[in-house]
């Protein structure tokens, strides 16, 4: 039932445009993430959906109901705050049963709900403890339990794992996803951590400077980013600047600096246009020595870094462009520093984008 629709929402704080004509649709029972660098407007959007911030323009629908003028307490939502916001003057149990109580349920029903949700977050001990006596992970569980106890079908999570240790964070993120799925909830999760978003989301909206740059499943965002910002922010990409040399129905040839010609699959750019070529570090094929291969450039290995699972090479191409290549450390033969190599470009996995008007650096910056 609760699908969430955001239509042309704009919110300004003084001169700062926090949300710039944002539209979005979250499906029923979907686990949806808002991902972006800090200051991109993701938390503002979540708060607008919750009713904690009033938008300047635009409409918010929860289910089929227009909720612009509905106060947060009547939106039927659960909200998990980054700082947990557990009431310091109530113990864990009273925090959890607060929602049912203020909604006017009778005591018995409130208690039943309390026990149910605590069961769900696997926390039935230390219910007498006050928030300042609990560990971060426990506070988080209580915060989630409290939001669930309010009986909402829409769960809004604002960086819910941001204040936890890495290990606890990893455990909890799968648990939160499992619970929302078990309870058939719609969840909107705000985070700046792309690996967290990739791991738990059905779909992700990537935001920058108050705008949504792309919405898609984790694999869509990774395999087919629709702009350089997403290509850079999700995973890692090498960016090479150039021109479209030739563009016909069956082939597109890109000319990089130094006259290097690369063939790519393309449906976006026209002949003569200035472009940016984005290639994932693991998408290259690297051959030792100088070899005559199609779609390739020679280069020189400048630095080798062992990272455990992977080994990372910084390679200076013949045209002085520098790229990063990542290869599995166990299954492939290692290259050595200063070694001459031939780097083969993948035709299908290299993405071509129009050169951004504001400059490449500005476009991919996460500031």
């Amino acid at each position: 039932m609760p699908e969430v629709r955001v239509e042309n929402v704009t919110k300004k704080f003084g001169k700062l445009v926090a949300l710039d004509d944002v539209s979005l649709q979250v499906h029923d029972k979907e686990y949806f993430s808002l991902l972006g660098p800090s200051g991109c407007g993701k938390t503002t959007l979540l708060r607008v959906i919750a009713g904690l911030i009033r938008p300047d323009k635009g409409k918010i629908y929860i289910g089929d109901r227009l909720v612009n003028d509905v106060p947060p307490e009547d939106r039927d939502i659960g909200f998990v705050f980054q700082t947990f916001a557990l009431f310091p003057h109530m113990n864990a149990w009273n925090n959890v049963t607060y929602g049912p109580k203020v909604k006017g349920y009778d005591m018995k029903r409130a208690e039943t709900i309390g026990h149910e949700v605590l069961e769900m977050v696997r926390l039935n001990e230390r219910l007498e403890a006050y928030p300042n006596e609990l560990s971060g992970g426990m506070m988080q569980r209580i915060a989630v339990a409290r939001a669930l106890a309010a009986g909402a079908k829409l769960l809004l999570l604002d960086e819910p794992l941001g204040q936890l240790d890495a290990k606890v964070r990893n455990d909890l993120r799968y648990e939160i996803r499992r619970m929302t799925k078990d309870l058939c909830l719609t969840a909107i999760h705000v985070t700046h951590d792309q690996s967290e978003a990739m791991a738990i989301s059905d779909r992700i909206a990537v935001m920058k400077k108050g705008r949504i740059k792309q919405v898609g499943t984790p694999s869509e965002l990774y395999m087919a980013p629709s702009n350089v910002f997403v290509a850079n922010f999700i995973g890692e990409s090498n960016f090479l600047e150039g021109y479209v040399r030739k563009e016909t129905s069956n082939e597109t040839i890109i000319e990089l600096r130094g006259g290097i010609l690369i063939e790519v699959v393309n449906d976006k750019v026209k002949k003569g246009e200035r472009i940016v070529l984005a290639v994932r570090p693991e998408a290259f094929t690297v051959h030792k020595g100088i070899e005559e291969k199609e779609n390739s450039v020679t280069g020189n290995v400048e630095r080798v870094t062992f990272e455990g699972t992977n080994i990372r090479y910084e390679i200076r191409l013949r045209n002085q462009d520098s790229i990063v290549v990542v290869k599995p450390s166990m299954t492939e033969e290692w290259l050595k520093a200063q070694e001459e190599v031939t780097v083969q470009f993948p035709t299908t996995k290299a993405h071509v984008f129009e050169h951004p008007a504001t400059g490449l650096k500005e476009e991919i910056s996460v500031e």
């Binding site: 909200f79 009431f87 003057h89 607060y98 939001a147 309010a150």
Partner: protein, 567 residues
């Protein structure tokens, strides 16, 4: 030649600073500073009033042997506590909605309201009392609309007065608490289904409860200790401090009846207040707001637009009608006076005005001296309390510092003067005045400064130390710059309090009279209908000058501070 002298001067100054800095890292010197601060606190602020009472303990028999006097004293003391309890409760009830309007202001216009709330604090208490008297009782006041006055001097007017002068303090404290409070708790409550009223009742106010208790205590002790203004509006009503002053008027300051009655009343007032405060401190945290009871339907009704707007309108209306207009009513005859020869006379300083202007100089000089001295002796104490430099004694001193606020000002002045005149044979009156003002203003400064120092993250001090700063260097380069404006506002608080102080000054002064003392004398003469009594216009003008000057000084200081509050 001049350049080299100047250079040498700078070099010398630099050397002195370096020397002091390196000396400050010697543990002995550090403790010497704190020790001196403690000794000064004990000898100048805390002990004189207490010892003054102790030294005259035997005079209490005068009261104990006189049943009618004792009954009169006891009923006066009961009145003190009744008035204080009722008024503080009403102040909280009226101050909380006002603080809410200011803290959650949605329009810029409400900033004006914020400033207006301070006015009863700026008006010297004695003047405030007179202003209220004129408004509620005087022929040109509200009685113009009601054929005869509706509130005559007595308990009702005393209540109105105490309500008025405690209101700004309550609002200030609660606004501060609401602004420091993390809104996230309230947001959480709202998302869990609580309407705004329920959210503030079950979450916001329980969390800021310590500040509410503090506001209550301040209002309460101010009501117990205030003397000057209460005298003016009391009529036949007597509370503790009015009783002491009435006995003094009747029997004279040297009479054994006066001393005995003062010792009797003061010691009971102090003892009961201290017990009450300890009770409040102990029971306060246990006092729970009814969280469990929820009345969803009713509270929803009073949460939204219409109810909210009418609540705010009522709050502001009450403030304007009962607090602001009566407080400034005294300015009316002053405006009249500017069209008559009274203005000229007052400016020429003829007749009763000669003494008035002398008093004016005395008032401001006294305030300046007390302020400067208290900054010097209060600062190390504030740091010592905030940084727990006195080990396990720190919380103890934290409480002791408050005592001068609790003691009725007239009792404080009285016992202080007894102590000093008994220990030093020819104690100059000006020193007595200074000591009295030091004692009364000291807590205000130390309180606000220690809170400001506590807000500075300890990390910053430690960072400065690891970068090589000596303790005094840390003080100079970190604490002073970061608390500059709190220090200034603490100084403002002391200064205005000193200028408006009446009760203790009345008790101490015999020949030297500050403006509030003069005004009290004038008003009393007028009310007694004496032949040489000053006119309403003269009193209005006399009060007007004091308000005007205080307001200008405050305004100037505000302008200096304005826009610089960066931290």
């Amino acid at each position: 030649m001049r350049v080299t002298l100047w250079k040498r001067g700078r070099l010398a100054k630099k050397k002195v600073v370096e020397l002091l800095d390196s000396a400050s890292s010697r543990v002995i010197l550090k403790y010497a500073v704190y020790l001196i601060a403690i000794i000064l606190f004990l000898t100048l602020i805390l002990l004189p009033p207490i010892l003054g009472i102790a030294l005259n303990w035997s005079t209490i028999n005068v009261v104990l042997n006189n049943t009618s006097l004792m009954n009169r004293a006891l009923s006066a003391i009961t009145n003190s506590f009744l008035v204080a309890l009722i008024v503080s409760a009403i102040d909280l009830a009226a101050g909380i909605p006002m603080a809410w309007v200011i803290a959650r202001r949605k329009s810029r216009w409400l900033t004006v309201l914020d400033t207006l709330c301070d006015i009863p604090f700026i008006v010297p208490t004695a003047v405030l009392g007179y202003s209220l008297l004129l408004f509620w009782y005087g022929p040109q006041g509200i009685s113009m609309f009601f054929r005869g006055s509706i509130v005559s001097p007595g308990w009702a007017l005393v209540m109105l007065l105490h309500f008025t002068f405690s209101f700004p303090v309550v609002v200030r404290v609660v606004v501060g608490a609401l602004q420091d409070y993390k809104r996230e708790f309230e947001n959480a409550s709202r998302t869990l289904g609580a309407p705004p009223f329920t959210a503030s009742r079950t979450v916001t106010f329980p969390i800021i409860k310590p500040s509410l208790i503090a506001a209550f205590i301040l209002a309460f002790s101010r009501s117990i200790s205030e003397t000057g203004a209460t005298l003016i509006v009391a009529g036949l009503f007597e509370n503790g401090s009015v009783f002491i002053q009435n006995i003094s008027d009747k029997y004279g300051k040297t009479s054994s009846t006066y001393i005995g009655a003062s010792v009797f009343a003061s010691s009971i007032l102090i003892a009961v207040s201290v017990v009450l405060f300890i009770l409040i401190q102990v029971l306060g945290p246990r006092l729970r707001f009814p969280v469990k009871q929820v009345w969803p339907k009713f509270e929803r009704k009073i949460s939204y637009k219409k109810a909210e707007t009418s609540r705010n309108a009522l709050t502001i209306a009450v403030f304007l009608a009962i607090i602001l207009v009566p407080s400034l009513f005294v300015a009316l005859p002053a405006i009249q006076a500017t069209f008559t020869k009274t203005l000229g006379e007052s400016l020429k300083g003829t007749g009763i005005w000669a003494q008035y202007w002398q008093s004016m100089i005395l008032s401001y000089a006294l305030a300046a001296i007390a302020t400067v001295l208290n900054i010097i002796i209060g600062l190390p104490m504030a740091i010592a309390i905030a940084r727990r430099k006195l080990g396990s004694l720190s919380p103890f001193f934290d409480i002791l510092v408050n005592i001068p606020i609790v003691v009725p000002s007239i009792a404080l002045g009285f016992s202080l003067s007894i102590f000093w005149t008994k220990t030093i044979t020819s104690m100059p009156e000006i020193l007595l005045l200074i000591f009295a003002h030091l004692a009364i203003t000291y807590p205000y400064f130390v309180r606000s400064m220690s809170a400001a120092v506590e807000r500075i993250n300890l990390d910053m001090e430690e960072a400065a130390r690891t970068l090589g700063a000596k303790p005094l260097g840390v003080f100079r380069t970190i604490i002073v710059p970061l608390t500059k404006y709190s220090m200034l506002s603490g100084a403002i608080l002391m200064f205005t309090r000193s200028v408006s102080e009446t009760g203790a000054t009345l008790a101490v002064s015999t020949n030297l009279k500050t403006v509030p003392v003069i005004l009290v004398t004038w008003i009393k003469a007028l009310m007694a209908n004496g032949s040489n009594a000053p006119t309403t216009m003269q009193i209005g003008l006399g009060s007007g000058y004091l308000i005007l000057f205080s307001f200008m000084i405050l305004l100037a200081l505000r302008l200096i501070v304005k826009g610089k509050e960066r931290y």
